[in-house]
Symmetry: none
Subunit: 229 residues, 2 copies
Amino acid sequence: MSNKVAILIIDDEVQMRKLLQITLESNDYIFTEAATAKDGMIMAVNHPPDLILLDLGLPDEDGHTVLKKLREWFTNPIIIVSVQSSEEDIVKALDNGANDYLVKPFRTGELLARIRSALRGIFTEENNPVIINGDLQIDLSARTVKKNEELLKLTSTEYSLLALFAKNEGKVLTHQYLLREVWGPGYINQSQYLRVFIAQLRKKIETDANRPAFIVTESGVGYRFAAKE
Amino acid sequence: MSNKVAILIIDDEVQMRKLLQITLESNDYIFTEAATAKDGMIMAVNHPPDLILLDLGLPDEDGHTVLKKLREWFTNPIIIVSVQSSEEDIVKALDNGANDYLVKPFRTGELLARIRSALRGIFTEENNPVIINGDLQIDLSARTVKKNEELLKLTSTEYSLLALFAKNEGKVLTHQYLLREVWGPGYINQSQYLRVFIAQLRKKIETDANRPAFIVTESGVGYRFAAKE
DNA sequence: CTGTTTTATATAAAGATTTTATAAAGATTT
DNA sequence: AAATCTTTATAAAATCTTTATATAAAACAG
């Protein structure tokens, strides 16, 4: 259920992969790697990444051919990272469907900026994290909650509480934990707050507030956000 | 109506414009040019091109500022062509919405390939700079707003605020975010500004200002521009 | 196991506080 | 001078906090 961006590196140089791994992971991307064209293709098919960084100088197959094959079905951005700096290579790669071409050695800041640029537009609408549970929809990026497609009016505290539950579906969240996360560390003894707000939330999100289906009470412990099919 | 692709060059060097004119026209692009930021903006608004080649070193205004201003409404590709080769400039430009960055002097074949790459997909996605929501029409390129086909008179700040809302329909925008985007980072505590301007905006765009349908208050958090069918 | 006691939870409603809306006056810019 | 921005003041609305009481669950004694 991660909303992180996955990037696949296809490059035969170990050092380069290591460098990219460190760079990408420290920037919150999910890093996967392949050392050969064959492995790269297989990985791309099995777990289509959001972006591919492709080296043209692979041992088992010509980079331009790999690019062409990928482009037969892969529509997300592909950025070429290559030691080849000839105009011929660059033009060929771009015309074969590469979104960008960076010559090695490159500056990591520039690579990251070009990755962000390539990803822009791909993740405008589709990739916003919406948690769906039964007839409830929680849009974390828009900060909105819908029940049966209808927008609910929640106060800021009610929303924080619900979002916290939604992010921890199925888990029992203790009173202490909920109070600390939503109200702050100084409020861990204000259990009554929690009761009041849980009651208000239930009135808004539950179909039958007397028989709560979303927010279930775990007496003596806390509450649990139950998953619905 | 020609189906040729129109490219606008904004660059103060005469030789560069001449070189690009020859290169582009011999490749079947329609070439238009501007020597200053001001002229470039005017031309872009009057005849929105399919792609803009922008030089960062313009005499009358900082290139990064020009890019930002263009990106407020211009959604087609912008490729930066600049003598500046510092990582800082490249990263800044790409993060400000440039699609690509080419350092001068460049190889014309590579430029053409990067233009082709940037143009790819342009004609698939719709990029209408007019946002329509109910009886409200916001033309981002003309900076005009119509309510029931009638032109509204908005101040520049009111317009910036409304345009920001329109670009983020359905999302809750926090006070901080709005203040930072419209007034600048030094104003994030001036919530009262926001209240005053929201009230003014509502008086102009809402049918019933007492029951706001477009700009909805999210108490304690911010405001949301609601979608109307 | 059953009824009683104790503890925990649910909910409404009143009071307190915070946040928001709006007008209008003063300051600044065009 | 006109338009716009900034500040101040105040009323209204929304939200939070507290209190009171009802209900449900757990613990316990017999």
